[in-house]
């Protein structure tokens, strides 16, 4: 990761100016020794002074600051990072996760409701919660696919579909990526507000984790509140990763905010790496929320889950909800779980 240290070491105009300014007073005093030809700056000396990786900065009359950088060797460093490590991280994360999940499915199969579906259903997520989730989910998928297209499209899609299709796809994809980011950010904020209270880690999570969440052994169901430790993990991954992606994404969209080219490049690398990791996590999340576990999808689908599923996976939450209901204001007619979780 020398790229980061390199990039943070951008020595700009000032440094150069400084050398010259220091040299200047002597020259001014002994006026008869100014030989501009002999004193002229040479590329070799300059590069040496800059240690070869900062930018050679000068002055241009065009009012465009970016154009005053003459040579920016560090940019090649970023290009190498982008085309190398970042791409590799993406490849490992995404493909690795898919391979893992396929293996898991092959071994563990679909996790069923041990006690079988009951006839009763319990409200797990309200419409607003589900809106927040799906807003985030849809935008994330679009972002992930369009993002992955930027990394792998030219290797995968271009040879298969040809320049025309790939070009159109990528052009639209870029637009989608730019705009969908804001939808994602909205979903991220909503979900954070809705669920933060339920995602504070506690002792229950330790126990849950010690049992491996019951994922690997049939019939084992460690107790959990509304969100088990695994789900809390997803929450925090999405919250923190999403925040990082949002911040860096905004910087990439508005380069003038990014604090120069080195800043932009740094944000771009962070964006690429975090996106890869988060995508991998989300793939796992999608797996467990759909094909991986019977009854899980309903929570975000209809919002109502099978009571038995709930008891197995979120026993403490069921107790809480049902207790709340019986402790309630005496409106016995209300069905359990009709109240929102909050």
């Amino acid at each position: 990761m020398t790229i980061f240290t390199k990039m943070s070491r951008v020595i700009a105009v000032l440094a150069l100016g400084l050398f010259a300014v220091i040299a200047q007073p002597q020259a001014a005093q002994a006026q008869d020794i100014i030989n501009p030809t002999a004193e002229s700056v040479t590329e070799d000396a300059l590069m040496e002074a800059l240690n070869g990786d900062a930018q050679v900065q000068g002055r241009v009359s065009i009012p465009d600051d970016l154009s005053s950088g003459l040579i920016k060797p560090a940019n090649r460093g970023w290009a190498d990072t982008h085309g190398g490590p970042v791409r590799t991280v993406n490849l490992i994360a995404v493909v690795g996760m898919i391979v893992l999940l396929v293996a898991f499915y092959a071994i563990r199969g679909k996790i069923r409701i041990d006690s079988g579906p009951s006839s009763e259903r319990i409200q797990r997520f309200s419409a607003t919660e589900r809106f927040a989730h799906w807003l985030m989910a849809v935008s994330f998928i679009v972002l992930a696919l369009t993002g992955l297209n930027l990394v792998f499209g030219r290797a995968v899609i271009l040879p298969v579909f040809g320049e025309g299709v790939f070009g159109t796809l990528s052009a639209w994809g870029k637009v989608a990526h730019n705009y969908m980011g804001f939808a994602f950010m909205l979903g991220l904020i909503l979900s954070f507000v809705y669920w933060i209270a339920h995602n504070i880690p506690d002792k229950v999570d330790m126990h849950w984790l010690s049992k491996g969440g019951g994922l690997f052994v049939k019939g084992v169901h460690p107790p959990a509140k509304k969100f088990n430790a695994g789900q809390k993990g997803i929450f925090w991954s999405v919250t923190l990763g999403g925040a990082a992606l949002s911040f860096t994404g905004v910087m990439l969209l508005f380069p003038e905010l990014a604090g120069g080219e080195a800043g932009w490049q740094l944000y771009q690398v962070i964006h690429g790496v975090v996106a890869a990791i988060l995508t991998a996590i989300v793939i796992a999340h999608i797996y467990i929320g759909s094909v991986g576990m019977e009854g899980a999808y309903d929570a975000m689908g209809s919002g109502e889950v099978d009571l038995n599923w709930a008891k197995e996976h979120h026993s403490l939450w069921v107790e809480e909800v049902q207790g709340k209901s019986s402790d309630g204001t005496g409106d016995g007619s209300s069905r359990p779980g009709t109240q929102p979780a909050e």
Binding site: V21, Q24, Q31, D32, I34, N35, P36, T37, A38, S40, S61, I62, P63, D64, G164, G167, T168, S170, A171, W172, V175
Partner: protein, 987 residues
């Protein structure tokens, strides 16, 4: 103000940009251009003018199925004379290719030259004649414009006399245009005719001509390749004459030549020097005398050269003793040891050339500066040979030619002066009666204690310089030494922001009864003032839209072909001058010698026939051999000329064989005589027939008992092996060479002399319209103008031996006491109160209120007043803001940061300009620099709305001359443009 990226985003953003980018198909050129924002304004502007005759030249892809014509012309910007090769298709200039064959530029250009194609596509050109009515610009027809202007000029003439009209011409004219305009002034009856040479090299012409004969660059840009030591003083050729650096840098590299730059500012030229020496602005004389002190002290002078070819150097040697190193350091800030090294290098590592520009000329001591430079060259024997000389880099593309053709208040074409002899000469060439011309001039009544003048006397009195016309418009009529004040200005191709005291010139413009601006662009003359009526704009085409020759700085004359027809409703100078002359009633007399052809809107004279008339009259300057046919042949065979000697290679086609490129004047005799031109002036090392010569003895034959003729120096093959005076018929008779004249030649001389033997004997080489005297002299290896000595001391000028004089606004009041400016006086029909102003500045302690010395100069992207170049988006993009260079120390003490807005305040009229600060070590502490090409803002006010719609230049800015101040050279009226005082504060 500017079309900047961010603004463009704001204006465009949104869906349109989105749509063009989303589509996975290319953005076509049109939408790409539209995306630039600039094109939006441009196209909209054209549409706004409606269809009619407005024709937008569409540039675009080359359609290879259409035939391409290649036209050759010359760049219309600086004086280097770069050839421009234009590809024209369907009458549209579609491409510019490198003109590889030109020995001057060898395909290359600077930013301006590489973008000249835009000039004939320019959306922002003036499109049709306009006038101001109640403060609004309205479109009028050419007929109406000419008729109304003519009527008003005649009214002014009736009321206030011919001298009340000021005819300001242009260094952008072709030679033929310049000559025609000068002739127009003669037929109108005034000497108030001037052009940009006044403000660039008038002091050079005066100083150099008074030293050794002619006011021009002695060698050439190409010849600098031979130099061993190259000194630039007050010249930033890298920005002002970029292509010249091709020759200079090659010389520097191949000869390992010394390049010494003496300048207050560390210029782009200085960056390539081997020695950079910073001096205090306005101390040239002290610097040069300081150098010469060391030369004389160490015996480095060239005594043989001085003995043979210089008069008066002993007096200089005496005078220079006062400029010992301590005193020079006190004045200039340069230590003696530094100047000693310069002196040694210049005097001993020869050939040495000395190059100067506006940094030397634009001073109250401009002429004196020039004469000190000449003295340095003379003392070291550095004139008149390969690789040395006074290489005066002139400014505009034809400022040399326009000077030669007398766009000058003090001379007729080709330096014939204003004497009766000169007038009679030209009346013979023009085939009009001398008495007719005389009748056109005013009689001047006695006033202000001065004598009255008859028309005949008045026609020999120099007019008012272009630096003072506004004083002549606003001063009390008693103070102006002509019949009345200036009442009408006719401005052909001259900016209004290149002369100091713009506040005063604004008042002058408003005082006029008539103001006519004939220019491709509305200049400051159209936008600065608050006039409401009697103001006319005439759209003139550029030199790319007409035929004609122009003279580069090295005196080479190059023929330019019309590339395209004049665009929009513009028309060329010849046609417009003709139509004005017609309306004023003297066209028949003035144009009778020319071939008239149908032009765009009217009849017009052909450039060839005007040049032929010049050839019949330009004997004094050797403008007689450059016939249109010879010039065209040179352009056609540019590749036949050697890069360094400028002479043809062996085996060149017969019509150019042996010629120097562009037949640099003097090109003696008739075209048939086939003189090759003169590459290096005053060069006694080659025969006259090959371009050799000596100094011109034009100051008499002896002075103080010493001869003014050369001693023991003469060109090889000369039948007179010594100095000799100019040739006349009488001299030929005394030498017995008169028999060699042909009968026709003799008949001409008889006609001029009126068959009176005495008058015939006085007919000289410069008056003999047959060229016979020149021919015979040269056939004997003699120079027609004689073989004299250069004068180190010009006894007829103020300060015959130049002395240091502090600028009017000096940062050193202590030195003003020792070196005051010259006493007040009257020059050129107006008073010069420089001494009073200087004394008052010292009394009022101006130097402490305005502690920073302000100097000015050029940028490579722009030229002159800058309207043309600031209207060219390719150039304008590169310099979008007027700025002032400030030293970091001065900036820090004033809390000024780089790029921030500041007010630069001047010491006169409470003047101030709002510009951007450029904080740089380029200028010394206590010195600030501003470029002079900007206009369109005045004291903080954006005047964009004052230009006719769609003709405002892309970039506007404050003019430096808003804050520059009083000060005039006593010999030529040159302004002080390089030293004044200012204060800079954050805006």
């Amino acid at each position: 103000m500017l079309v900047k990226r961010r603004q463009r985003d704001a204006a465009r953003g949104g869906l349109q940009g989105f749509a063009t980018s989303v589509a996975a198909r290319p953005v076509d050129r049109r939408s790409f251009l539209r995306g630039s924002g600039l094109a939006v304004g441009g196209l909209a502007a054209v549409t706004a003018f409606g269809a009619g005759t407005v024709r937008k030249a569409e540039a675009g892809p080359t359609d290879f199925s259409q035939p391409i014509e290649v036209k050759t012309n010359i760049c219309t910007h600086c004086s280097v004379g770069c050839t421009v090769k234009a590809e024209v298709q369907n009458g549209v200039w579609v491409g510019q290719e490198p003109a590889w064959k030109s020995p001057i530029n060898r395909g290359t250009h600077c930013a301006k030259g590489a973008s000249v194609r835009e000039l004939v596509h320019g959306d922002r050109r003036l499109k049709y004649p306009m006038k101001k009515e109640n403060g609004e610009w309205v479109r009028i027809s050419w007929d109406q414009a000419i008729d109304e202007i003519g009527e008003k000029m005649l009214e002014v003439r009736e009321r206030s006399g011919a001298d009340a009209a000021y005819l300001l011409g242009s260094a952008k004219f072709s030679n033929e245009g310049a000559y025609l305009f000068r002739k127009f002034a003669a037929f109108w009856g005034t000497n108030n005719v001037d052009h940009q040479a006044r403000i660039c090299h008038s002091t050079t012409v005066a100083g150099v001509a008074n030293t050794w004969g002619y006011g021009a660059m002695t060698n050439s840009y190409n010849d600098i390749r031979n130099s061993k030591t190259i000194v630039f003083m007050g010249s930033n050729a890298a920005e002002a004459h970029p292509v010249s650096l091709q020759h200079i840098l090659t010389g520097k590299e191949t000869n390992r030549a010394n390049v010494i730059v003496l300048d207050p500012r560390f210029t782009r030229t200085a960056a390539h020097a081997t020695d950079y020496i910073r001096m205090r602005p306005g101390t040239d004389i002290a610097v040069i005398w300081g150098i010469m002190w060391h030369i004389f002290e160490n015996g480095w002078e060239d005594t043989e050269f001085i003995d043979q070819r210089v008069w008066g150097m002993d007096q200089i040697r005496e005078a220079v003793r006062a400029y010992h190193p301590e005193e020079v350091e006190r004045i200039t800030g340069i230590p003696g040891v530094t100047l000693e090294r310069v002196a040694q290098t210049f005097a001993t590592q020869k050939p040495s050339t000395f190059i100067w520009c506006m940094g030397g000329t634009q001073h109250t001591v401009g002429t004196a500066n020039v004469r000190t430079y000449c003295n340095l060259l003379l003392a070291t024997g550095n004139v008149g040979n390969i690789g040395n000389g006074a290489n005066i880099f002139r400014g505009h593309c034809n400022v040399q030619g326009a000077t030669d053709f007398g766009l000058d208040i003090g001379s007729l074409p080709c330096y014939y002066g204003l004497s009766e002899g000169g007038w009679r000469h030209w009346s013979r060439v023009w085939e009009v009666d001398y008495e007719y011309l005389q009748s056109r001039f005013d009689a001047v009544p006695a006033k202000g204690g001065r004598d009255a003048r008859t028309p005949q006397e008045n026609m020999s009195v120099p007019g008012i310089p272009s630096t003072r016309w506004f004083d002549a418009a606003t001063l009390d009529a008693e103070e102006v030494d002509q019949r009345d004040n200036i009442k009408a200005m006719i401005v052909f191709g001259h900016g209004g922001n290149t002369v100091p005291r713009m506040g005063a010139s604004k008042i002058g413009m408003e005082a006029l009864d008539l103001l006519v601006v004939a220019d491709p662009h509305p200049t400051t003359f159209a936008a600065l003032h608050d006039r409401t009526d009697n103001t006319y704009l005439l759209p003139i085409s550029t030199q790319f839209e007409c035929h004609g020759s122009r003279t580069a700085s090295n005196r080479s004359v190059q023929w330019g072909e019309k590339v395209v027809e004049p665009i929009f409703e513009s028309d060329n100078d010849y046609a417009v001058i003709y139509r004005l002359a017609q309306r004023l009633g003297f066209a028949d007399e003035m144009f009778k010698n020319y071939e008239m052809v149908q032009g765009k809107f009217s009849m017009e004279p052909t450039a060839e026939s005007i040049l032929e008339e010049i050839n019949r009259g330009g004997w004094s300057t050797g403008y007689t051999g450059q016939s249109p046919e010879r010039l065209k042949a040179h352009m056609q065979h540019q590749d036949q000329f050697d890069l360094v000697t400028l002479r043809t290679y062996d085996g060149a086609p017969e019509e150019i064989a042996g010629d120097y490129y562009g037949l640099p004047w003097p090109c003696w005799g008739t075209p048939e005589m086939r003189h090759p031109g003169t590459h290096i002036l005053y060069n006694p090392n080659i025969p006259v027939a090959d371009g050799g010569g000596g100094f011109r003895p034009r100051f008499g034959l002896e002075r103080d008992g010493q001869t003014l003729l050369a001693e023991g120096s003469y060109p090889p093959g000369s039948d007179i092996e010594d100095g000799y005076p100019q040739f006349t018929y009488g001299v030929l008779q005394s030498l017995g060479w008169d028999s060699e004249l042909t009968p026709d030649e003799l008949a001409t001389i008889q006609r001029i002399g009126g068959n009176d033997p005495e008058a015939m004997a006085a007919v000289s080489w410069s008056l003999d319209l047959s060229g016979g005297i020149q021919r015979v002299a040269i056939s004997h290896g003699c120079v027609p103008f004689g073989n004299g000595k250069a004068r180190a001391v010009a006894w007829n000028l103020p300060d015959p031996i130049p002395v240091h004089r502090e600028p009017i606004y000096s940062p050193r009041p202590d030195l003003v006491a020792d070196y005051p400016t010259r006493d007040d006086g009257r020059q050129f029909r107006v008073p010069n109160i420089g001494h009073t102003v200087q004394a008052s500045a010292v009394d009022r302690n101006i130097a402490s209120d305005f502690p920073i010395v302000l100097t000015s100069g050029r940028l490579v992207e722009y030229e002159g007043g800058g309207e043309e170049t600031r209207s060219n988006p390719w150039l304008a993009e590169l310099q979008q803001d007027m700025f002032v260079e400030v030293n970091p120390a001065d900036a820090e003490s004033r809390g000024i940061v780089d790029g921030s807005w500041v007010w630069v305040r001047g010491p006169e009229m409470d003047s101030r300009t709002r510009v951007k600060a450029l904080v740089t070590e380029r200028v010394a502490p206590g010195v600030a620099f501003m470029p002079f090409h900007f206009a369109g803002w005045f004291q903080g006010e954006d005047q964009r709305g004052k230009y006719p719609e769609g003709t405002d230049p892309v970039v506007l800015g404050e003019s430096v001359n808003t804050v520059t101040t009083y000060g005039y050279d006593p010999v030529t009226g040159m302004h002080e443009g390089k030293v004044t005082l200012c204060e800079i504060v954050s805006a």
